[in-house]
Symmetry: C2
Subunit: 222 residues, 2 copies
């Protein structure tokens, strides 16, 4: 049997999500829990990247994962095999999570003992970017097959993210994807963006990303 619960999260009752997100961020800072909001298109490799990241870090810190999906449990099943605390959040058709929905997940997960929580947001480059979840950092994954023009077409998500992971670099030879161009476009949107080209499949580049994450958790929870 899988080791996770399924929670149907309710739409926020708060009018002011930004203020509510700020409140949650402060609460988690106080509890020494580093929350990451992980966003991408469907199929960019959120779950695979997460599974590999967990494997690298789970002996150093206590990790919890919140899997948000419209109504499936596929990712929670996969992640629960990685041996960390997992909860499945069902948004009931909604395309994003706001701060209060995130809080409902956090409460159910019980973060007080966790050093790092990753919220795997609904797969979508538009709506999740519009709502502050209260996470300490926003991270997005763009995968090579999606094309290097995405920062031009989905500006907001590149603006609100702290980290851009470029995944599936192992298939670069088979796609017309210009790594220099995507970096240039992404930095146009957000000059402070950290960019990590990786292949979650082969492991290439994972260490740089994991080192960044390790350092951020340490600083945040100090």
């Amino acid at each position: 049997m899988d080791q996770f619960r399924v929670l149907e999260v309710k739409r926020s009752i708060f009018e002011d999500n930004d203020r509510d997100a700020e409140r949650l961020r402060e609460q988690l800072k106080g509890e020494k829990t580093f929350l990451i909001n992980l966003m991408s298109s469907p199929g960019a490799g959120k779950t695979t990247t997460l599974t590999k990241t967990i494997a690298a870090l789970k002996d150093e810190m206590k990790i919890g994962i919140m899997e948000a999906d419209i109504d499936s449990d596929v990712d929670a099943h996969t992640i629960s095999e990685a041996g960390v605390k997992v909860i499945q959040l069902h948004t009931g058709g909604m395309c994003h999570l706001d701060a209060d929905m995130t809080r409902q997940g956090i409460r159910e997960l019980g973060t007080k003992e966790l050093d790092l929580v990753v919220l795997e947001n609904v797969g979508n480059l538009v709506c999740p970017a519009e709502f502050d979840t209260g996470a300490a950092k926003n991270v997005m994954i763009l995968s090579v097959p999606e094309g290097h023009d995405k920062p031009l077409k989905y500006p907001l998500i590149f603006q609100v993210c702290d980290v851009l992971i470029i995944n599936k670099i192992d298939v670069l030879p088979y796609f017309d994807f210009d790594l220099d161009k995507v970096k240039e476009y992404a930095l146009m949107r957000n000059p402070n963006l950290k960019i990590f080209p990786i292949s979650a499949k082969t492991g290439e580049g994972m260490e740089e990303w994991e080192n960044w994450l390790r350092e951020e958790v340490k600083q945040h929870n100090a």
Copy 2:
């Protein structure tokens, strides 16, 4: 100079989008214009598939394209080179188009002389599926790199579509993508779904899809 206009579409004033969509569908039937609503994730290949489809059909019928994007013109620039009537719709941050937004585009495009209009919806598997645009048929593209579990995770879009195009089959050897499984999952969601595996890049499978489209346009506009 590019041959297209940019239209900022406004949120619908109609409460009842389903009824409004029905009205638009009837209007287009009367005008003998076959409207397709094309949906997919970002980077699944909507624009490339469309460019190739246009090249195959443009000598047989008059085609118009409406490119919906949050705020870029990238796809309209590409499509305008294919030599058909193109208009760019900007949704102003919204993640989908409803029937009235579609009508605003249709009006600007001037469909009375067009046999086929393709609405390239905002790249997203969630929100566009929730709003009937008034199109005669809904078509979605899923690409191989996105993974075969997508019908499990995004049920609604598979339910509302008439056609599932599985794109990028040329890269099947490089991904863990099970073509039989994705068909099985998709048909579980919608037993009436027509499925066309294609590679817009190499042209494989395009003829079956184009034949289907040709036949549908003929029947609709008869």
